[in-house]
């Protein structure tokens, strides 16, 4: 895996197809591989690939520092890649200006990998290795959420009070989300301040409601937000409830079909609900 990956990257840099490769590298001290940006073909030896490459690198396509490096090639897993689809649908990237190197992935030892149906990238320009995509039922994919939702409503409220009590609003969830790309986040808007910036329970509830709902019908489930949260808050539950509703009500799984219409901003007269009287 690693050799063909390095070779592909070397070739792309060598022949000038791209100016930078966004991939995973590792230093001796770091526990996990971390993002590296290779601009010199002779540095492809820094690239690594192992079962700890959990970070979704797609976010870097949106960061001005990385954009400034020139046309990128990016290393993605089958799950990360879904974010690219959404970004293109939302006019944030030109797919033709990015080279996508998909790496087949057998799982990153995370819970979500057990119900992954995107081991093999589908939309990449170059694919390294081979893995089999196994269909996973919605029940399996949303089992974690379903289990949580079985709790009584007051328990759920108490759970979130305890969890969000810890949130310090470091915004690691936002900053690492591949689909958070606003020029100015709503939380930074004043006049009017739609929500409190304070890391109080009130402000934290407002923030996490906004964050989750702004991903409604968009979140691709890379779980980056939960993974990076220094307070260990399971934001995935919120994202999943939106994703499951999008799937159940509109047959939409974000980032799986480049041709699909986005959930919000579109509508169908046939949308079915029971709660509006």
């Amino acid at each position: 895996m690693l050799q063909p990956l390095r070779e592909t990257c070397r070739r792309l840099l060598d022949d000038g197809t791209v100016q930078v490769v966004i991939g995973y590298g590792q230093a001796m001290r770091a526990v996990e591989p971390y993002p590296v940006f290779i601009t010199d073909p002779n540095d492809v030896g820094q690239l690594v690939w192992n079962e700890q490459c959990r970070t979704n690198l797609v976010k870097y396509l949106l960061r001005q520092e990385i954009r400034a490096l020139g046309k990128p090639a990016i290393v993605v897993k089958g799950c990360d890649e879904r974010a690219l689809v959404v970004l293109e649908q939302e006019s944030q990237i030109e797919r033709s200006e990015i080279v996508v190197i998909g790496v087949a992935c057998d799982g990153m030892a995370e819970a979500r990998c057990e119900v992954c149906d995107a081991h093999q990238p589908r939309f990449a320009d170059h694919t390294i290795g081979h893995a089999t995509n196994k269909e996973q039922s919605a029940e399996r994919r949303y089992a974690h959420l379903a289990e949580f939702q079985e709790r009584p409503i007051a328990d759920r409220m108490d759970y979130w009070k305890a969890e969000l009590e810890r949130c310090v609003k470091c915004y690691a969830c936002r900053q690492s989300c591949p689909l958070c790309y606003c020029q100015r986040c709503i939380v930074e808007k004043n006049r009017p301040a739609v929500l409190d910036t304070s890391p109080t329970l009130k402000g934290n509830f407002a923030w996490h409601i906004v964050r989750a709902f702004h991903l409604a019908g968009r979140c691709v489930g890379c779980d980056q937000c939960s993974r990076v949260c220094p307070e260990g808050i399971d934001l995935r539950l919120l994202n999943q409830s939106m994703a499951r509703a999008s799937e159940a009500s509109f047959g939409h799984r974000s980032g799986t079909d480049p041709q699909a219409e986005l959930v919000l901003g579109n509508f169908s007269k046939q949308d079915q609900e029971q709660f509006i009287r």
């Binding site: 520092e65 810890r166 470091c170 690691a172 304070s198 890391p199 220094p230």
Partner: protein, 333 residues
């Protein structure tokens, strides 16, 4: 001769403190992979061993992430200003790591420089810090490189050492510590062995001199461009102390509040004009390093870093102070 106390005795003490209405903050296991300083609600809830260091810091006890400065209320045409009351709850931080406690004297300088922050000083006065010396360290710890160590007593009122067998050695550092444990310990001949702590990295105390020449280097981008611009480093740091003041509320009532802020946020230095003197992330990273190792030492004569390594532990992409300094030194700055 040394003073020792058993774990059950400590837990009994905590129970008593809680009963007396004191706030006790100690490491709490939130999940298998997450230990965090939290206010404890029962005496069996907190950890006295088995962790490297919590992912947050104890600064929140004296410098909360959110505090009200005053409230306003509109009554008819009249606006009432209600200053926030001074804190009055006594706090005990138990089993703080020395790298956390060592940051408190640093914060003291900041909150007493030019103006004295009443609420901060009041909380500081009400707080007793009982540190717990480290037996283990991980790849991110580098206190020894900055003059600290696993049994550093800076900022602590008392220091505990794990002797095994549910027994801890108590070394009181200040009167506050003495008072806290007075009559609660037993004399013993057992003393804790000295623990070396993490291997000393390259001479980081001298990093300030290297920074003299490093400001204009073009490598900052290469060293730091994986930074995503969140505040996980600053908020987990025991010494970072930037804050933001905002008015929150509506036309009838509200408050002026002070919240933690972080220099890696894009908005941190954004001017009302739209201009941002630190528009690139590498400039913000450079700022963080310079503040800790150059600007602050010049002003107060000590580093704004205790080498706890929390910045790297909390960083989504394993950046933080040490990786940047190492990269800089590797390039022969």
């Amino acid at each position: 001769m040394s003073q020792i106390i058993s774990q059950p005795a400590i837990r009994r003490l905590v129970k008593q403190w809680l009963r007396e209405g004191k706030r006790v903050v100690a490491p709490v296991q939130i999940r298998p992979d997450l230990v965090s300083y939290q206010p404890v609600r029962s005496a069996d809830q907190f950890l006295l061993d088995g962790f490297i260091r919590p992912l947050n810091s104890i600064k929140e006890v004296v410098f909360p992430r959110h505090e009200q400065l005053f409230q306003y209320r509109v009554r008819g045409k009249q606006i009432d200003l209600l200053p926030a009351p001074l804190p009055d709850i006594e706090r005990i931080v138990l089993a703080a790591r020395p790298c956390d406690a060592a940051a408190l004297p640093i914060l003291d300088h900041v909150f007493n420089w030019e103006s004295r922050d009443a609420a901060y000083n009041q909380r500081r006065k009400l707080t007793t810090v009982v540190a717990l010396a480290c037996m283990e360290h991980d790849a991110h710890c580098f206190c020894t490189s900055l003059g600290g160590g696993p049994d550093d007593t800076r900022g602590s009122d008392a220091l505990l050492f794990d002797l095994g067998d549910d027994t801890l050695e108590v070394r009181c550092v200040t009167d506050k510590g003495q008072n806290l444990f007075a009559g609660q310990t037993e004399s013993s001949t057992r003393t804790a062995p000295s623990v070396p702590g993490p291997e000393r990295q390259a001479d980081l105390q001298q990093v300030g001199q290297q920074l003299e020449q490093a400001f204009e280097r073009s490598d900052w981008a290469a060293w730091t461009n994986r930074c995503l611009g969140c505040g996980a480093c600053a908020f987990g740091c025991p010494a970072c102390h930037c804050f933001d003041m905002v008015d929150e509320g509506g036309p009838t009532c509200g408050a002026r509040v002070r919240n933690w802020d972080a220099c890696q946020f894009g908005q941190f230095t954004l001017h009302a004009s739209g201009h941002n003197p630190r528009s690139a992330q590498s400039q913000r990273q450079r700022q963080r390093i310079y503040h800790k190792f150059h600007v602050y030492p010049q002003k107060f004569g000590e580093l704004l870093c205790t080498g706890c390594g929390n910045c790297t532990r909390n960083c989504p992409v394993s950046l933080g102070v040490l990786p940047v300094l190492e990269a800089m030194q590797a390039e022969g700055a």
